[in-house]
């Protein structure tokens, strides 16, 4: 389930950011040396625009010169003011780079004490090999500055040499608040192209990249907030101010529509070439469907058949030697995929397109942008961000989207990162823009049904069935596709225990179906929650809701900087029946809770039942992206959920109850 997975992603994110830093960051400063430090910079002890910051970037300058294609280089100059003891860590500098494409040279560094005394860096610059293999060379220039104290200014500049001409990026937002920054890029220009264009995102007020009469693109920016990740935030790329420069091999289209038309035509041609095996596809369809099948049944049968084909994209990654031994040829068209019985994710999705067309459907190939890393907009003319393929089928006037190449995706759904995104529907004229469907919360559910018995000593024990549907089932099936039953069992049992706010025992008793896309993932358990009811005088107190641990600490902080982002809408439902000990009864039933809005909904109801008590709970989150101004309302909602969940039922022996 995606909602609560952010923290586990953060470590991977850091690794990825390291990679990004290598390719995008910091270039160098082509000036004669260090710039003078002002008295104000020396004596400052805080930055009013970044109160409490451990350090700030007083100044950053990036100058890139691509004018000589084989000698492109960047210089970067950074001046950092240390404001707290914690900020002294910025005195350690590591500049990673890929040896295949880059080199770093001419590093100069110094520390300026608060009294203006300069301590030049005269230590060693370590050239570390982070990874070296046949296909990788990753090194880092590492050094540490002397005498870095609170109040010091540290600064350094260096040059990155590029061995080839690359796209470049000005990432304005860094970990630290930036007071002033300057950027410039002298692009490569040649009568034989390539040519360069640029796009920007979330630039601070007043910042604008402009090309001067000398052909150099320049930009100045100031007061750029530092970046600090938060739970449930959009991809970091969406939150950082940036300018992206892209070299194109073809003449750029100034006109947006013409640009995408050209792209669409080109891609459509490649697609048609891949799927143009009408006869073979018709024969295949004849094997899959029967003429009497309804249109939807046909689509579903074809979908199931395609998903049954071996999908190489989801296998344990093989070594080159294994692949060579398997002697699997590259698939050049849908006939290859169909006849050989395997393909990758994208190929299987195009096979589906070919088959449904052969079955007589009006269907289109679409390239969409998955929203794991970026939110796509056509305005920036970045075709590489259309990086996932889906199939659009017209049925009864409706647009249906399919991606059978995404393993375990149920019929009629897309993998979460392809939902609710823009894409290009391809046709011979270049295509048109579409937006994929976003499933409702009720289509991706976690349902927990339990029949439990409360013992005299407060233990809760009985049977529990957990049913994952839609994208929830898909996610778990994908995560454990290459694991064994032991690991899957452990996961399911741990997931139950993790949902209960006290120690609990769960034992899986059935064999869930991990291989299907269509059926819900159903797990049955023997469940025991020791001491769930707690004592209250002669009575016992029973919390209203049992599976609430996930919501316990959601949005606990009062302030929020970035928008709130969920991967996909989701619903949780619980239906718990509790048989009370003989002679015991509830002296109160909490008032029903109902908070219903288009974005979030919460219902909680406790009823007397034949067996004792029946507790029904529903929590639905229909949010994809929410502006920070609504954070307080969302936080209040979840506080209400927690408060509702912790409503309590007072149980008393019948006699005591009567006495009351």
């Amino acid at each position: 389930m995606s909602l609560y997975r952010w923290s586990s992603v953060s470590l991977l994110l850091r690794i990825v950011l390291l990679g990004l830093a290598i390719t995008t960051a910091v270039t160098a400063w082509a000036v004669d040396g260090f710039q003078p430090v002002s008295p104000d910079e020396l004596k400052m002890t805080s930055e009013p625009k970044a109160p409490g910051a451990p350090a700030i970037l007083l100044f950053r300058q990036v100058d890139r010169d691509d004018s000589r294609r084989e000698a492109a280089h960047e210089t970067n100059y950074l001046r950092i003011k240390i404001l707290t003891e914690e900020g002294r860590k910025y005195g350690d500098v590591e500049l990673p780079f890929y040896t295949e494409s880059e080199d770093i040279r001419d590093i100069h560094a110094r520390t300026v004490k608060q009294d203006g005394t300069v301590v030049d860096f005269d230590g060693k610059i370590f050239d570390k090999s982070l990874a070296k293999g046949r296909r990788i060379g990753l090194r880092a220039k590492t050094f540490t500055l002397p005498d870095v104290q609170v109040g010091s200014i540290i600064e350094y500049f260096y040059t990155v040499d590029w061995k080839h001409l690359y796209d470049s990026h000005w990432i304005l937002t860094s970990e630290l608040f930036t007071r002033n920054a300057k950027f410039s890029l002298k692009p490569y220009k040649s009568a034989n192209v390539p040519t360069m264009r640029w796009s920007w995102h979330s630039l601070p007020p007043g910042a604008e990249a402009k090309e001067g009469p000398d052909g150099i693109v320049r930009m100045e920016a100031s007061n750029i907030d530092g970046f600090k990740p938060e739970d449930f935030m959009p991809p970091a790329n969406e939150l950082k101010a940036r300018v992206d420069f892209i070299y194109e091999l073809e003449m750029p289209d100034k006109d947006l529509a013409k640009f995408w038309q050209r792209i669409g035509k080109s891609w459509n041609g490649k697609l048609e070439s891949f799927i143009d095996k009408r006869k073979v596809m018709e024969q295949a369809v004849a094997e899959i469907v029967s003429p009497n099948d309804s249109q939807e049944a046909k689509l579903r049968k074809i979908y199931d058949r395609v998903q049954a084909i071996r999908n190489k994209s989801y296998e344990v990654r093989k070594t080159e030697q294994e692949e060579k031994r398997n002697k699997e040829k590259a698939e050049e068209n849908v006939e290859d995929v169909w006849k050989r019985g395997y393909g990758n994710k994208a190929q299987l999705t195009w096979l589906y397109l070919a088959l449904v067309r052969a079955a007589g459907f009006e269907a289109y190939g679409c390239w969409v942008s998955n929203r794991r890393e970026y939110f796509f907009t056509p305005n920036t003319m970045e075709s590489s961000k259309l990086n996932a393929n889906v199939v659009l089928v017209k049925l009864n006037g409706k647009d249906l989207y399919f991606d059978p190449g995404a393993e375990f995706t149920p019929f009629g759904m897309l993998t979460w990162s392809e939902t609710g995104v823009r894409g290009l529907r391809l046709d011979k004229d270049g295509g048109s823009w579409i937006e994929t469907s976003l499933p409702k919360a009720s289509e991706s559910r976690v349902e927990r049904d339990a029949k439990l018995k409360l013992s005299d000593n407060g233990d809760l024990e009985g049977k529990l069935t957990v049913t994952y549907t839609g994208l929830e089932a898909m996610y778990h099936r994908l995560s454990f596709r290459n694991e064994d039953e032991i690991a899957r069992k452990k996961f399911l049992e741990d997931a139950v225990r993790a949902q209960i706010p006290v120690a609990a025992e769960a034992e899986l008793t059935n064999k869930p179906d991990w291989s299907s896309s269509e059926t819900p993932l159903v797990a049955e358990f023997d469940l025991k929650v020791p001491g769930w009811a707690s004592s209250a005088g002669k009575g016992e107190i029973l919390p209203t809701a049992l599976f609430t641990a996930n919501e316990k600490r959601l949005f606990q902080h009062a302030t929020r900087v970035y928008p709130i982002y969920f991967n996909y809408p989701l619903e949780k439902r619980e239906d718990v029946t509790i048989e009370l000990p003989a002679g015991w009864q509830a002296t109160n039933l909490p008032a029903p809770q109902s908070k219903d809005s288009p974005l979030v909904a919460y219902d909680l109801k406790v009823e007397s039942a034949k067996e004792g008590l029946r507790l029904k709970r529903k929590l639905a989150i229909n949010i994809l992206l929410l502006e920070p101004k609504y954070y307080t309302a969302l936080r209040n909602f979840f506080e209400g959920v927690r408060t509702g969940d912790e409503e309590q039922i007072l149980l008393q022996p019948a006699a005591a109850s009567a006495g009351n």
Partner: protein
């Protein structure tokens, strides 16, 4: 295995072990970028095939792999050259065992060189696979914030094809090294079961060895040639990880072997005792401790106006803690030998041993003697029976206290038979005041390096009264169930350090409230922090005081005509890590002794009356105690409790008691008082 002083600045809350980060980094790098090149298929060697052909016993379903065969042949060629040849064969039993399909050979460059790395896979079906050294990737860790910036630890990784369940993976390699010390550790145990493990030693003529056994009964050596010996084990259990278990080196079977050249001890001789190891380290320090005019001037400035020796030491300690930045650059012997005090002073940075070195030089300038202490930050890695070897990863120091100096702030002391009263101090720890040490150092063994050599000493265990949170709250409940009021927390010892660290690590003023929000969120479903302040946040020698006010709606739940009030308003002491189906194999380890207390007073609305109260809880075990009581005084519900961890290690046979202990606490934390509304009484 990294076996150096690599300990970084202690952080009270460290969610991720840096080594895990590094392994993860390497794994990610490996996965992202590394695919072994296609090589000519080669058959697995005969030695591997013979191992693979043998039948294996059945293992439980959670066993990821089994180490079928391990062979280590170590040849000492001279005091400057050792060659070690290693072979390993694993059978992958589960998908989770696929990780054993890569050889990870750790080495230090340039002192060690890995040669002749080969890997093979014998699949259950089909032809064998072979990969060679040219297919491997060399990796070293990036600089880690708060950890090593530069060191010479590297790993050579070789991914072997088809590491799937049922298949057999094998590899071999040689390491040639220029040893810093003539010592080796043979690891007998793995995370998975070991069927057969061999170790052989070839010494030059006239050499001797000394073998010691850790966590394993002695195995007699078989002489198998001229100055050649062999050891072997079979069917050794794997060590399955458990939360809060003792450190690996405190439980895993190992043989520590020292090589002794003829003609007495050489500078590189393996250690025959802690004394000889201490002497070795003392020699490494010999030219590092000199002061300089600049240091002396700084010392003079720092102690100006200070009259007592304690004040002077505190001033020097604060300088080292606050002004010398932790930066670890550990290359070659630099993993063990500190930089000169003058260099550390000039650059204002250094690692743990560097900081101890400068501190010692400065203390010497005021006439106070002190010593390095080598220690492992994971208590239990070194015990009284542990043979002398480089088992440490951190350096602290011991200060010989001036005669007659007594002060209640000097807690981490011991009476040494020769040196008199000594105080342990960790100059890397920027948060713990001079006079105390953190929990993980307490009751731990360290090598005290003295002019006479060295000795293993046990550091003192501080009283639990030195570490804890004393929380008091005065709160008011209204008829709607809303609770509001003021909370005061006095935090001592590690409890203060962890909160100081949390406050120090924030990146903006807005975030300073978050540690308190985190605390409240553990116990309250909704809350609003009305006010919050930290007192003496930067004065390590004082308790940290947190003062805050909050309001929480519907804290008390309405149940018909009564309110249900949980008297334990804040703080969670119950732990659930023992609630597993697996029987516990190893002791449970605690960081340090601690005593937390809570005292909450909830004033009820007019006319409301508390009904029957939860029963008091009184638990006293040898390892811990817990006492909780709810009383009613007039309109006030008063809840008081205390929890004390007295022993730092609870043996496995007592873990069931510990489980019960935490269950009772969990119940107490959820217990409720039924409060009757005025109408309910009428």
């Amino acid at each position: 295995m990294r076996n150096r002083f690599s300990y970084s600045q202690p952080q009270p809350v460290r969610a991720i072990d840096f080594r895990v980060v590094l392994v993860f980094f390497w794994s990610v790098v490996g996965l992202l970028f590394y695919v072994p090149r296609a090589a000519a298929d080669g058959e697995a060697p005969a030695w591997m095939k013979s191992v693979a052909a043998a039948s294996i016993p059945s293992y439980d379903e959670k066993t990821n792999a089994v180490l079928l065969y391990s062979e280590t042949n170590l040849t000492v060629l001279s005091v400057d050259r050792i060659k070690t040849h290693v072979r390993k064969v694993y059978k992958i039993l589960r998908p989770d065992g696929r990780g054993y399909g890569s050889a990870w050979v750790y080495f230090n460059a340039p002192g060690q060189k890995v040669e002749n790395l080969h890997g093979w896979c014998i699949p259950a079906q089909g032809k064998d696979f072979e990969v060679k050294e040219k297919d491997a990737t060399d990796m070293s860790p990036p600089g880690v914030e708060g950890g090593e910036l530069v060191d010479d630890v590297k790993v050579k990784s070789l991914r072997i094809p088809a590491a799937d369940p049922g298949n057999i993976i094998g590899y071999e390699y040689e390491i040639e090294e220029r040893p810093l010390v003539l010592e080796h550790r043979w690891d007998i145990q793995d995370l998975v079961p070991t069927r057969e493990s061999h170790f052989s030693l070839q010494l030059p003529a006239g050499w001797e060895y000394k073998a010691s056994w850790v966590n394993h009964p002695e195995i007699k050596a078989m002489e198998s040639g001229s100055n050649r010996w062999e050891w072997a084990t079979t069917e050794v259990k794997g060590i399955r990880q458990e939360p809060r278990m003792p450190p690996w080196f405190g439980i895993a079977g190992q043989m520590v072997i020292s090589f002794l050249p003829p003609g007495g001890l050489s500078p590189k001789s393996g250690y025959t005792s802690w004394e000889t190891m201490g002497a070795w380290y003392r020699n490494l320090l010999s030219d590092r401790l000199q002061s300089s005019p600049q240091i002396k001037e700084q010392v003079a400035n720092l102690i100006a106006g200070k009259s007592s020796s304690l004040e002077k030491m505190q001033a020097l300690a604060e300088f080292i803690q606050r002004k010398i930045r932790y930066v670890a650059i550990e290359l070659g012997i630099g993993g063990w030998q500190p930089h000169a005090a003058t260099d550390v002073f000039t650059h204002r940075y250094g690692d743990c041993k560097d900081k101890a070195t400068l501190m010692r030089a400065m203390l010497s300038d005021i006439g106070i003697e002190s010593y390095h202490v080598l220690i492992n930050t994971q208590r239990g890695s070194v015990g009284s029976e542990t043979p002398a070897h480089r088992a440490f990863n951190h350096a602290i120091m011991a200060v010989k206290l001036p005669e007659g100096l007594t002060d209640p702030s000097l807690v981490a002391t011991m009476q040494h038979p020769k040196l008199g009263r000594i105080l342990f101090f960790d100059p890397t720890d920027t948060i713990t005041p001079f006079g105390q040490i953190r929990g993980h150092l307490q009751f731990n063994y360290g090598l005290l390096v003295t002019p006479d050599g060295g000795e293993l000493v046990r550091l003192p265990q501080e009283s639990s009264s030195m570490n804890g949170t004393q929380r008091t709250a005065r709160l008011t409940l209204d008829a709607t169930g809303a609770l509001k009021g003021d909370v005061e927390e006095v935090r001592l010892g590690d409890r203060a350090s962890s909160q100081r660290w949390a406050l120090r690590s924030v990146t903006s003023d807005k975030e300073r409230i978050k540690p308190i929000e985190n605390l409240l969120a553990m116990s309250l479903t909704n809350f609003q922090v009305i006010r919050a302040a930290a007192v003496d946040e930067k004065r390590n020698d004082q308790p940290l005081r947190l003062s805050y006010s909050f309001a929480s709606e519907k804290y008390a739940k309405s149940a018909g005509t009564v309110l249900l009030v949980r008297p334990r308003v804040l703080g969670v002491e119950a732990l659930s890590f023992l609630e597993t189906k697996e029987p516990r194999a190893f002791p449970v380890e605690f960081d340090g002794p601690v005593r937390d207390t809570d005292s909450f007073e909830i004033t009820l609305p007019d006319g409301y009356q508390a009904g029957e109260l939860p029963a008091p809880v009184d638990m006293d075990y040898s390892f811990a105690s817990y006492h909780a009581k709810t009383e009613v005084i007039g309109r006030v519900i008063r809840y008081t409790r205390s929890i004390e961890i007295k022993e730092l290690s609870v043996p496995a046979e007592k873990v069931e008691e510990l489980r019960k202990f935490y269950r009772v606490i969990a119940n107490d934390e959820r217990s409720t008082v039924v409060v009757k509304a005025p109408t309910a009484q009428s």
